[in-house]
Every structure is written in C-alpha cells, then in structure tokens.
Subunit: 460 residues, 2 copies
C-alpha cells in the first residue's frame, strides 16, 4: 500500500487514533537491538486503550496487512522488526502501574511499563520483582512476557512466566481475552495464559498483566572469582551451591572482561588476567563465601577472588558482567543464546570450543552466560571491514555446526532471546517437524488471517 493510500485509509477508518509516518519514527520503531535488517515499517500506531488496539487489528484483518506489536525493542532475535511495510503498534502509552494489592502481593502493569519501573515500584512497597537483566532500563513488560524473559536471577527466582498471574490480550482476530485474572489456582480448562507467555506476538497483543511480587530477600553479597579452566566452572558451581544460597552464578571469559575494561575504562579487578571468571550473588554469609573461595583455591579451580565489602563494590563487580553486551554492541555481534541441561554444560562447552576453533578461527568470540541455568551467550564480533550481510551469512554457516551440537545435547537454539526472524531457520534443531507444524496450526487458531507478526517464529 502506498503511503498516501495508507494515510487516507487511516484517516477514514481510524480517525481518532494517534499514528506516525515520519521517517524517524518508522526507522526507530521498525527495528530492535539486532542490526541485521533494514527497518521498513509503513506506519507506527500509538494506541491509548484496548479498543484502539482492536480497531487496528480488525482493520489489518480487513485489508490484509501485517501488524507488529512493539515494546522496548531491546530484542536480540528480530522478533519486533518491520522488514516489509508492516504496521507497528507501539505499546508505549500503556505505561500505568495500578491496582497494587498488599494482601495478594500483586499489581497490574500496562504492556509498556519498563521493567525497571516495576522493580522500583515493588521496592517502594517493600517488595521485590526479581526478573532482571542488562536491558531492564528499556525493555517493556509485555516484551518480557512475549519472550518469557529470564536474565540473571533465574537460578533462584525463575522466569517471567512465574510472575504472571493474569494476562489481558487481543488476539489476531481482534478478540479480547482475560486470562487467569490473578488467581493462584485455576484448573478450569486449557491455560492460554501460559501459551501466550513466550509466544513472541504471533498469537495476540499483550495489553496488560497482573504480576506477582515477592517479599524482599535477605541482604545480598557479591563475589567475583577468577578460575583456572573451563572445567573449574561447574566444580565451583557445585561447591558454591552447597554452602551459599545463590541468586546468580554468572560466567564470562577473559575476552569479555577485556572488552568491558576497554569500553568503560575500568581497571582489571585482579593483578593479572585469568581465562574465566564467575560472579556469584548470594544471601550475605561472609564465612561461607570465604570457605567457597578457599576450597576452590585448594582444589586448583580458583586463582583469585574478591568479596564485595560494600554495596558500591558489589555494584562495581556486577558491571564487569552486565557491561559485556554494551561493550560489544557496536561490533554488530552475531548472538547465539543457547542452553543445555546444567549437568551437560561442561561436555557441551568442551565440544563447542573445538567447533569454534575450527570454524571461527578469524572471528573474535565472546563468551558469557548464566551457568546455573545451563544458558550460554556466545557472541561473534563482526570484523570492522566485513559487510554485515556477508558476516551474517558466514555466522549462519557455522550455526549448522553449533546447532547440530545443540541438537545432539537436546538443547535449545534460543534460551531466552526468542526465535523471531533470526533464529527461525534454525528452529528444527530444537523442535521436531510435528511440533513446528502444530505451532503453525495453533497460530492459525488465534490469528486466522496471519496478521500478527507474520513470518516470525514460524512460517504461516
């Protein structure tokens, strides 16, 4: 549809709604944190309420358009990019936090509430929203729900899924569903709430959610350990888990540390570089932490360590881990976000290292991850002089080896980023042909004309 034709359609059919066809808006709302596609949205809508979302979706159904729900656009799988003239629905105006109930310890959040806002709201009530990750300052709650976001505390607190007690959505056919409505126990038929969580906008648009909050945890401590080898990571994890109540157990490589030091101008936290590091967050217990450190040293797994002595120092140590993504962002990294069972991590990493050495000899690879969940982030940095399309193509060739290994280990090609466009060709490494066929059929049920995020996750 031509721009002027579209304008006139919208003026006729959706006259009261806010939208933009400004090039700057189309570019901004047509992309996410991946940088492999040219943004190409036709229009960005800024609806104010659920009825407006319904109107847009119904018009898209009548006119055969594709609609893309858009949150904070911090995704790494191109699940919210517009690449072929789609209509984008920005949920930015659904930013209310309401209906806090201290007895239920629940609160209602609009789709466009930013993760950090919800964390802060919980803290203001003396409660805790534990889902956290590097993009918490920009990501929207509905985006977290669409990808079942995990992050740095999954080990202890689980995923976004575990905090969603209610979900209001508009389906691809424009119908409103109020799913579960905040109940703890509800065995009245198929639980579509859980089907929508992690569905990446292919079934419906999340409008608002009822979120469970937790009591605040005890004071947390942070310890950074420098490890001697890859094998030491799981040994230290087993050791630490016995004596500490862990909230996080994060791993990164020497190359990751060097990137953060260079990007943020930080000093090396230790006297020298070590091959691997793990960052532990746990319920304050200095004696037990010292024991872990000392036992690790005695066993030859640990080279050095720092236990934060203040909140400031804890925050500083976290930056060595949380700064990694940002420090490599301008290299247009190709991101593998993979998982296997926790117990299989050592064998998997060993074989993966062999593949990387054989297949990526010329690319810089940056490792980090949430070891306690079996989730590894493997970033391949684009050489400055290489064309983006060529780089993506080369990485996708290597994927055949990496994902072949994941398939052998019954792992996931996407642990927490989602499938979107980027991982779609590789979905068969984690899902059977029958499961993919069923996904297509279920999408068809909720979105019979395929207007919602068409082409993402599965072909429709």
């Amino acid at each position: 549809m031509q721009a002027n034709e579209l304008s006139s359609l919208l003026e006729t059919e959706l006259s009261g709604l806010a939208w933009s066809m400004q090039p700057g808006d189309l570019e901004q709302f047509g992309q996410d944190w991946t940088r492999f596609h040219q943004p190409d949205a036709s229009v960005v809508f800024f609806p104010n309420d659920i009825a407006e979302v319904q109107q847009i979706i119904r018009l898209a159904n009548r006119t055969g358009q594709v609609v893309i729900p858009s949150g904070g656009r911090t995704g790494y799988s191109a699940g919210a990019v517009a690449t072929g003239g789609e209509w984008v629905i920005s949920m930015v105006r659904f930013n209310a936090i309401s209906d806090f109930n201290p007895i239920d310890q629940t609160v209602k959040v609009g789709a466009g509430v930013i993760t950090e806002q919800l964390q802060q709201f919980a803290a203001d009530q003396g409660l805790f929203y534990p889902v956290d990750f590097a993009s918490s300052g920009s990501s929207h709650i509905a985006g977290n729900i669409a990808t079942n976001a995990g992050g740095i505390r999954v080990l202890r607190y689980g995923l976004t899924r575990d905090y969603v007690l209610g979900l209001t959505v508009v389906t691809g056919s424009g119908e409103i569903l109020h799913l579960n409505q905040g109940l703890v126990k509800n065995a009245s038929g198929l639980d579509f709430r859980h089907l929508f969580i992690g569905s990446e906008g292919i079934l419906g648009v999340v409008i608002e959610a009822e979120i469970k909050l937790l009591a605040q945890p005890p004071n947390q401590s942070v310890m950074l350990l420098a490890l001697t080898s890859l094998e030491a990571i799981m040994s230290v994890f087993a050791l630490a888990r016995k004596s500490l109540v862990l909230s996080s157990f994060e791993f990164f490589s020497d190359r990751s540390l060097k990137r953060v030091m260079a990007h943020r101008g930080f000093d090396n936290p230790f006297d020298e570089l070590h091959p691997f590091y793990v960052l532990l967050e746990f319920d304050e217990n200095e004696a037990a932490a010292m024991d872990v450190f000392e036992s690790g040293m005695e066993s030859g797994w640990v080279n050095d360590g720092i236990i934060a002595q203040s909140l400031d120092q804890a925050t500083q140590l976290w930056q060595y881990r949380e700064g990694i993504s940002e420090s490599i962002a301008h290299y247009t990294p190709y991101k593998n976000d993979i998982s296997v069972k926790i117990s299989l991590v050592p064998a998997f990493m060993e074989q993966l290292e062999d593949i990387l050495a054989a297949e990526y000899p010329d690319f810089e690879t940056i490792w980090f991850g949430h070891i306690g969940d079996g989730n590894l982030h493997l970033n391949i940095l684009k050489p400055a002089d290489m064309d983006t399309a060529e780089f993506k193509a080369q990485c996708e060739q290597v994927n055949v080896h990496v994902y072949g290994l994941i398939q052998q280990f019954s792992g996931s090609i996407s642990a927490e980023h989602g499938v979107g466009l980027i991982k779609k060709p590789f979905l068969p490494y984690s899902k059977s042909a029958e499961e993919i066929r069923l996904m297509q059929a279920v999408k068809q049920v909720f979105d019979p004309n395929g207007v919602l995020n068409r082409g993402k996750v599965v072909d429709s």
Copy 2:
C-alpha cells in the same frame, strides 16, 4: 461396537497388547472418585511402552473410537470416567523412576508413578518433591500433570506445573512430542509443555515427565488454631504470614472436624468445639509461633491453639485436615472446588454463606480449603434417602447461584480438580465464550478426530 466385534478387532490389529474386557476391570477403570456416573468402558488397555500407546490411538482414529487416559482415578471432576463404551488406556505399567541427576536435581518419572513414590524417591536422595495432597498415595503423576494438581503446599511451593521440566506425550493423532526436554531456559517457540499441563487428557496422553526436585526445607512445625469467626481467618493469615515462613495455611469448619472425629474415632483436640479452625505448617520457630497465637488471642481472633511438640503430634494434627475428604466420601459429596483472589476470600465467603443458608437449608455443607491460595472446598453431603441423580440435579441448581457469585468475583469454578464432565456445563462462569471456542479449536489441532477424552472439559 459389540464386545465380540471389538475382541476380534483387537486380536487382529493389536495382537501383542495387554487388554481386559473383564467386568471387574471395566468397572474399576471406568470410574474415578466421583460417583455420579455409571462406569461403561468397552475395554481397558495396559500398554507397556509408547509405541503401544500410539497403536491404540491410531486404531481409535481409524475406527472412530474414543480413548480415555487413566491414571490413579482419584479425580473429583469425572475427567477420567468412561460413560459411553470408551476405550480406557491405563498407564499403570509406566511406573519407572529413572535418570536421576544430582547436578540438575531432576528425575524422569513414568506416567503411572504414584505421587507418594516420587516424594519418597526424592527424600531418599536427600531432596524434596513438595506437591502433596490427600490422594498422594494413589494419584498418578500424569494425572497430577493433567489437572496441574496443587494441594496443601501451593502457598509456598506452587503447583505441579512448576516442577515439570520435560514432558513426553502422544497427541490425539498419535504423534510423539518431546516437550522442553528438561531445560531450565528455552525460548524456542510456543511452549506446548505448559499447554498440556492442566489439559485433562483432551490433547494427548502423557507418557513420562522430567521433574525438578528441591533441596529439603528446614524442619517444619505444625500449629492448630481454633478461631472465633469467619472474619478471623484472613486476619490470622495476615498475622502469621508476617512472622512465620508458611508452607501451608489450611482452613476447616466445625462440621468438618466433627466428621473426622466420628470417622476416625479421634478425640476433640480442644476442650470444646469452635466455629472454625486453621492449621499452619511453617519453618520451625516456636517463639514466633507463640507470638502469633498470643497476638491472635489478644485480638479476639483465636480461641485456643496447639503447637505440635513432636513429629507424631504434627502428623496427628494434619489428620484433622487431611481426613476430611475420606470421612465424607460415603455421603457421595457434591464437591465445589472454587477459588478467588486471596484478598477477596472474606467478602466472597460472607456472600457465599448467605447463598448456602438460603439455597441449601436441608443439606449438610462441609467447608475446608487452602486459604493462602484463595481455594475453598465446599462439599454438599447427600441425604441418605435421596437418589443420586436427584441430589446431583439439586446441587446443580444451586450452582447457578454459587457460580454466579464466582463470576462476579472473577474467580474459578475449578481451582484444582479440573473440569472433566462434572464442571463442563459451568465453564462459562469462569471462561468467556471466545475462550471456550478457542479451547475447542486448539483441541482440534492436537486431536483432529476427537478421539481423546471426547466430551470432557469442552464439547468437541
């Protein structure tokens, strides 16, 4: 199909399989713990492996038969009863516990493993499987999964859903799906594992599950409090939650207590009868428990209390709560298993009491429930001289009032028992017409010929 015709079909098509057409088996496997239907199964299969389950389902597809997956048959919603010549698949031979992994803290269990066996297995490894309820000694894991079973520790540990890391199922079209395969984090498309949990056998047959175990909790204490009024229940809950780490907060009425005392020959735990009781289980903390008791007395909410001084006494106190269902079983109770948000419990109970007084003046009603989850069990006892069908019909007339109130409160007509046959007519009180339509369409995707548990949960 006539019995001799069926025999000859099975001898031809499923010659290696074990099945029975003995009247005793047909009766036993044609019913559950509800007693409102005449069992009428044609045959009971006892498959040994997944391929045999596939064969049965494929034959059912070819011949237009209906298949009912059967677990421990402890259900209260008639989700596993055979009422019209269906084929029953008993999963009793899928009773292996295997592949325990101490690092992942996971274990594989066959569909027919009994809940108590899994609890015991976990304890033998120094770990903990927290899902527990009165029928743990007979219920099968796959039945728990089919209804997303909750029970007495949901308050702290959540539902069956929260422990299922992997699920192998055979769909209604006879396809095998391996869902999630034990991963902690997996964002690779629609998560059908969560769709199957709570689906009551209408989408597929659960073959085995990978279950997450927990570290053992601290020692638990039990306290039984006699309360002065209905309103006191929530006040005591708020009070207790502040100072104790609660695992359970269970409520029952004086009538419930009298039934258990009569049925089991127990003495009254207190000097006299009180209108309501709550049973608390919590991390051992005698001082804090005493504080709760004393504050409750001072506030006029608590009349009397007992803190268990030994494990034996704790077990004894639990029997006053866990013995209720058994003590009323031979009255063919009509069971309402309803939930609202926790904060709405007091207002809901007050209005519900008015309805009961007006509509059930002649029936004995027995209250108990998991107050900390907003889940109430309301049992109506059948007068000895009333016909079962007449009794059911009368109860269903009152349901219009009870479920109308639930609808006003955005609650659930089935908190943990499922919908099955018994609650199906009342599903519209908890689910919209569109949601029910979508359930039917999703069933159609997984079970195109409607061979699985046809007529349960939704019409197909």
